[in-house]
């Protein structure tokens, strides 16, 4: 600022007690909480590596029990009037809103994301998702899928660790609205908010077996995918696992929806409002530490403004605050796990080894826990691994282009097709770019916005099926 004023922030931590952490959490099967028959694990706080709670994990036998419960619950639940089903979902939405502070703190503790994000994005959107699909439950006849569209049956749902409660809401809300029953497996490293959601669901009075939540690792995911009593699989996660699931259901011919990885291009033209674009670039790659499938992980900037944009971006990154996820001033929290940190580290090292220039703002990372400084690579070529592979971390690869045609060619030069961004003041160019980009979501002069009314999902190897909006009903209807 040049005034000599100290504009640093005092710490403003949210109280950890709000999370109402309990020593142990159990699986939720057939309307009751009980210990799973799998190995109990400690879920860690990624910000310091300390255990938060013990979680009793499910075994394949628990999957069997959950399938029996969900099958039994399916008939009555699917025959319930849409209006009644909707009311249950409205109840869930309301309780999420009422317990939002608790859920936000718990989410930040278990995931490592800044409280600002869990408080302002994850939890409100989770509630909104239930609220949105609650209203569809008695209007399915009018949804454009023909008269009396029928539910699919029992849905097996496997979700990732990056938006634990929000992904649970994305999966459960439309499934229940359409009259399905569900078996949901939260991610191994982030089971806590899903298990509190199970409490909320029990409190809302849903019949036993309509929702079953089974914490566990990949073996439980495999048991769900392989189970003949499950009619539909919905998976959000990596493209590698998504392909394995698509193969696994090939023989049974089970229904499948996949929301997989991405390598989103965020394209900045020379006439873009640069300050806004900088904010969009930052949101695009550093929101949730870049652990977002639709992250704008490739910045494509028009050559004539590349130096200016990169210089402004660096200035902006100097102001980002990396640290305690529970601090309300924190912009960048912890990486979710040691495993993910190792992957980010290895890919960033590959970027350097392949000749790209690496830069991070000077920032002191906490000594314990899993941390990675925001990182920008310039001088990146399309052949570099950091331009091709999903890093799923706070690492931006900067490439340049001269013409719109070159931007389109580079943006689409990936097996993925989840998201893209366009920054320009020219309306006709926005619409032309939006048309040419082979991606399921295009953010123009904005990035990483989400809404329950807005369909989300990928082209190409980013998966198929849509979540959100009227389109999101289709994955859970027999149409």
């Amino acid at each position: 600022m040049g005034t000599g004023m100290n504009l640093d922030y005092a710490p403003a931590p949210e109280s950890r007690d709000l999370a109402r952490l309990r020593p142990a959490y159990q699986a939720f099967i057939d309307g009751t909480f009980r210990d799973g028959r799998g190995e109990a694990i400690k879920t860690l706080n990624p910000a310091d590596g300390t255990p938060l709670a013990e979680v009793s994990q499910a075994s394949p036998a628990d999957v069997d029990d959950a399938v029996v419960a969900a099958r039994r619950a399916f008939g009555p639940w699917s025959r319930l009037s849409g209006a009644q089903r909707g009311k249950y979902l409205f109840r869930i939405a309301r309780v999420i809103q009422e317990r939002s502070r608790e859920l936000a703190v718990l989410e930040s503790l278990d995931n490592g994301k800044p409280i600002r994000e869990s408080r302002d994005v994850d939890i409100p959107l989770a509630a909104a998702h239930f609220f949105y699909y609650a209203g569809w439950a008695d209007k399915l006849d009018c949804a454009g899928f023909g008269p009396h569209p029928q539910p699919v049956g029992v849905a097996g749902q496997i979700i990732p660790w990056n938006f634990p409660l929000l992904m649970a809401a994305w999966k459960i809300a439309p499934a229940l609205a359409c009259g399905n029953t569900v078996i949901l497996k939260p991610a191994e490293t982030t089971p806590l908010t899903a298990l509190v959601l199970a409490e909320i669901i029990a409190e809302a009075g849903l019949p036993p077996g309509v929702v079953n939540i089974l914490p566990g690792g990949p073996p439980i995911g495999q048991a769900i995918v392989a189970h003949p009593g499950i009619d539909k699989i919905a998976f959000t996660g990596s493209t590698t696992v998504g392909k394995a699931i698509q193969q696994a259901v090939a023989v049974s011919g089970q229904r499948l929806s996949l929301e997989l990885g991405g390598k989103g291009a965020n394209i900045v033209f020379d006439d873009a409002p640069i300050d806004q674009a900088i904010e969009g670039i930052v949101t695009g790659i550093f929101f949730n530490q870049g652990q977002v499938c639709c992250a704008g992980s490739r910045l494509l900037v028009q050559e004539s403004v590349a130096d200016e944009v990169v210089a402004s971006l660096r200035q902006r990154l100097l102001t980002l605050r990396v640290g305690d996820p529970l601090d309300k001033n924190t912009d960048i929290g912890a990486i979710n796990s040691a495993e993910q940190l190792a992957r980010i580290t290895s890919l960033a090292d590959a970027g350097e080894a392949e000749g790209a220039s690496r830069w991070s703002p000077p920032c002191e990372l906490p000594a314990r826990g899993y941390w990675f400084a925001p990182t920008v690579f310039t001088g990146v070529s399309q052949a570099h691994r950091i331009a091709r592979e999903e890093i799923f971390g706070p690492v931006l690869s900067v490439l340049t282009f001269r013409t719109p045609a070159e931007a389109i060619e580079k943006a689409n030069n990936t097996p993925y097709g989840l998201s893209a961004g366009v920054w320009t003041e020219k309306g006709s160019r926005i619409l032309a770019m939006a048309k040419e980009l082979r991606a399921g979501v295009v953010w123009a002069n904005t990035f990483n916005r989400f809404d329950p009314a807005s369909p989300f999902g990928g082209y190409k190897e980013s998966g198929f099926g849509r979540e959100g909006g009227r389109h999101g009903l289709e994955a859970y209807l027999d149409v």
Partner: protein
Amino acid sequence: MSEPTPEQQDRLPVRKTYKLYVGGAFPRSESGRSYPVTSPSGVVLAHVAQASRKDVRDAVRAARAAFTGWAAATGYNRGQVLYRVAELLEGRRDQLAAEVRATEACSLSLARAQVDAAIDRWVYYAGWADKYDQVAGTTNPVSGAYFNFSVPEPTGVVAVIAPPRPSLLGIVNAMVPVITSGNTAVVLASQDHPLSAVSLSEALGPSDLPAGVVNILTGHTAELAPWLASHRDVNALDLAGLPEEDRASLRIAAADNVKRVYTGRPGSDNRHALSRLLAFVETKTVWHPTGF
């Protein structure tokens, strides 16, 4: 196809060579192979080209090359092109009916009914080309100062395995909804009853359909379908024409690049016809802030 009438007895009929249709041209199989197509009573009706893996590759390449232009054509334009095909097929009704009758050994009236239904299908989908967006697309009332809309877009290159029969209506039912939205197609014709499919391609050749939008291969389904299912530049598969027991291995191969796999639903009403079209579109959602 039909027996010569008495006054034609002195004229030897000119028989047709049944070739592939790839990139707007009519090549023989690069493998040099052909196979006999017989009537149900065993009479050899013709020798048709037996496509190979390389023909599959050429067809996919042609379909990919045609995709950008066809997908960018307006719905109105695509509709006109499809309608033009119906016009051209109308002039070949007798030939198509004779081929259907000969290979399927059905009555002439059934064969004619099949041909007429196939032609009418082109007219039906011609009308969808500039309308399905309005059925499948939405504007989305998001909570915030954004204009947000979703539009359907073609998936890309779609491989279609036509059902064994009805030999003409089956391939038309599967193929036309795929291209209506702007996809391009590589189609395996009915292995045992491919004659009318080849004659269909001969109507497509001089039509306004750009080269490569439709590519029709004849050959052995069990040999060719796996190459289509595993091809990295094919985006979607229509397996509705295959029995369920033949689908699993193709679905496994399809997972390698996350292909969309359609296996069809029973029924042939208009809803079903629309669902075939919508099975091969992607939904794109676009956000933009609003403000002064």
